[in-house]
C-alpha cells in the first residue's frame, strides 16, 4: 500500500516496467529511454526521500511491513526465548519480552509489539499496553538486574491504552513504577525507538543509558493527531502538529532526547527490513561496547545524569 507522497515514484516505476515489457515483447531497442527514466527515478527518490516532512516520517514510522520488536528479536538475536505474564493479572500481548543472545552476549529484551496484519493488530491491541504489560516489563528488568545482563528495549507504541480497564488497574501508577524501575537498573540499558514513541507508554521502557532511534521513527509527548485535536481542535491538522512537535529523529538528537540515529534504507525500513534490522544490530553492539567498562553504580549514575540534564529553561 503506497503512501500518498510516494505515488509519483510508483508511477514512474510502473512506466519503466512497462517500457521494459514493451522492449522485451517487441524487440525494439528502448535502452536509452529506459536509462533516462531510471535516472529520473533515482533523482525523484532522492528528492522525495531526502526531504521528508515530519508528517511523512510519521507515516513511514507506521508503514505496514516495518520491522516490529519480534522481527528484530528473530533476526538480529539468537535463541530468543519469550517469557509471558506479569505474575499478577494477565499476559499482555502488546508487550513482549524474554531472554536472548546478541552475538553471543546474554541479554534481557522487552518491546512493544504491534500486529503485522489486522487480525494480529487486534490481538496485540495495536501495540497499546495495559498495566500488565508494564508489569511484565518490570519483571524482566528485575531479571536483568538479578543476573547482571544488559537490558534492551524496543519502543513502538502509539501510547499506553486509554481505556476503562487500564485505568481501573492503575495505568498511571505502573507507568510511573516502570520509569522508576528502569531508572534504577544496575546493568547497561539501551532503548531503540523502532517506529512510534507515543508518550508515557513509550517512556515507561525508555529510561535507558542510551536511547537510539530509527531515522524515520518519532517520539513525543502526544501523537500528532491528538495534539491537533486539542490545539487546533481538528485531528486533520496532524501534519501541522507533527511539524510543531519537533518529533523527528534529527530534532530529538538536537534536544539530546536521543543519543544516536540508526539509518534506514531509502524509502523507509519497510522497503528493506533485513537491512534495517542489520543496522539496528550494529548500533546495539556498538552501544553495548561503549557501556561495557562501567560499573553497576556508574551505569546508574550515568542514566541519572542523562535524564537529570534534560530540559530547557531560564534560571
Amino acid at each position: 500500500m503506497p503512501l500518498e507522497f510516494e505515488k509519483p515514484i510508483l508511477e514512474l516505476e510502473k512506466r519503466i516496467q512497462e517500457l521494459k515489457e514493451t522492449a522485451r515483447t517487441t524487440g525494439v531497442d528502448l535502452e536509452a529511454e529506459i536509462r533516462l527514466l531510471e535516472e529520473r527515478l533515482a533523482r525523484l527518490k532522492r528528492e522525495i526521500y531526502g526531504n521528508l516532512t515530519p508528517w511523512q516520517r510519521v507515516q513511514l514510522a507506521r508503514a505496514p511491513g516495518r520491522p516490529t520488536t519480534l522481527d528484530v528479536l528473530e533476526k538480529a538475536f539468537q535463541d530468543f526465548l519469550e517469557l509471558h505474564g506479569d505474575r499478577a493479572f494477565a499476559d499482555d500481548p502488546a508487550i513482549v519480552g524474554g531472554l536472548a543472545y546478541l552475538e553471543g552476549q546474554k541479554v534481557v529484551v522487552v518491546g512493544h509489539q504491534k500486529g503485522r496484519d489486522t487480525k494480529e493488530n487486534l490481538q496485540r491491541n495495536f501495540g497499546m499496553p495495559h498495566p500488565e504489560g508494564y508489569r511484565k516489563a518490570m519483571r524482566l528488568m528485575d531479571l536483568a538486574d538479578r543476573f547482571g545482563y544488559p537490558f534492551l528495549s524496543f519502543i513502538d507504541t502509539p501510547g499506553a491504552y486509554p481505556g476503562v480497564s487500564a485505568e481501573e488497574r492503575g495505568q498511571a501508577w505502573v507507568i510511573a513504577q516502570s520509569i522508576q524501575r528502569m531508572g534504577r537498573l544496575r546493568v547497561p540499558a539501551v532503548a531503540v525507538i523502532l517506529g512510534e514513541g507515543g508518550s508515557g507508554g513509550a517512556l515507561a521502557i525508555g529510561v535507558a543509558n542510551r536511547v537510539l532511534i530509527l531515522e524515520n521513527a518519532w517520539y513525543s509527548v502526544i501523537s500528532p493527531e491528538s495534539c491537533a485535536a486539542i490545539l487546533w481542535r481538528d485531528a486533520k491538522e496532524a501534519p501541522k502538529a507533527a511539524e510543531a512537535l519537533k518529533l523527528t529523529a534529527q530534532d530529538l538528537l538536537r534536544f539530546k532526547v536521543v543519543d544516536a540515529i540508526i539509518p534506514e534504507p531509502e524509502g523507509g525500513a519497510h522497503k528493506d527490513p533485513e537491512r534495517a534490522i542489520q543496522n539496528i544490530k550494529e548500533a546495539l553492539l556498538k552501544t553495548l561496547e561503549e557501556l561495557k567498562g562501567l560499573s553497576p553504580e556508574a551505569l546508574y549514575q550515568d542514566r541519572y545524569r542523562r535524564f537529570r540534564a534534560l530540559g530547557v529553561y531560564q534560571d
Partner: protein, 285 residues
Amino acid sequence: MALERLFRRKRPSGENRDIPELWTKCEACGAQLYKKEFKENLYVCPKCGHHHRMPVWERVESLADPGTFQETTRLAPLDPLGFVDTKPYAERLQAYQKETGRKDAILGGTCQIGGVPAVLLVMDYAFAGGSMGSVVGEEIARGVEKAAEEGRALVIVAASGGARMQEAALSLMQMAKTVMSLDLLWQKRLPYVSILTDPTTGGVTASFAALADVIFAEPGALIGFAGPRVIRQTIRQELPEGFQRAEFLLKHGMVDRVTDRRRLKGEVVRALRHLHPGVPYAPGV
C-alpha cells in the same frame, strides 16, 4: 512573608466594591456562598462539600505552618521548540504569566508542616492547566534535591492536565527526570507525601505524583492517566458513574486516603510525623 505576597498579588479590579462580588456560587449545588466564608472554608462548599479548585498561595497557607514558607521556585520557561499552533507558545506563556503573576505552573519552597521541616511544591492549574514542562520538571527535581540535602520531607500538591504539549519530548523527559530524582529521598529515608487534587492526569499522575510514600486524594478529584474524553472516544461508550474520581481510585487501591480538605493538613502532618526518622513519637496533632 506569604501574606505579603498575597497582598502584592493582583486582584481582579472591582472586587469588594460591588455587593454581588461578595458572593459566589457553588459549582456543584449552586448554593449562594459568602466569599469570605467560602475562602475560610478552604473553597469547600459548606452546603454540599464540593471541593473547588484553590489558588496556590492559599493552598500553601493551608498546609505550611504560619510564617514559615520561603519560596524557592524561580525558573522561567523558554520556548525551545518555537512552538506555534493557533497562537505562538511564547504568547501563551506571557498571557498565563500575566494572568497568574507566576512564571510557570509551580510554586514551591521550604517550610514547616506541623513542625516537620519540609519542601512544599504546589502545582498551579491556572497556569496552562498545571502542565509540566521543563520548568515544572526542573523545579520538582531541585525541590527533591533540597529536601534530600537539608533532611526535609517532600510534599507535592498535584493539579495538572499532564505534560506540556508545547515542549513535546522535553516535557515527556521531565517524567523520567522527576521520578529518578526521588531516589535521593529513598537514599536518605525522607518521607514523600503526594496530594492529588482536581484534576491530576496524564504525565503528572504517571510520574512523580504516583510514587509517594503516602498518597492523599481530595474528594471528587478527577485522577487518572488518560482524560475521560479520550477514553470515551476510544471505547465509544459512556463511562461508569464516578469513574476516575478519587473515591474510585481508593476503591481500586491506587491512593491511601481520600481526605476532606478541611482535615487534610492534620492527616498530612500525622503521615509526616509517622515517617520522618527525625521526629520522635508524637501522636495526634
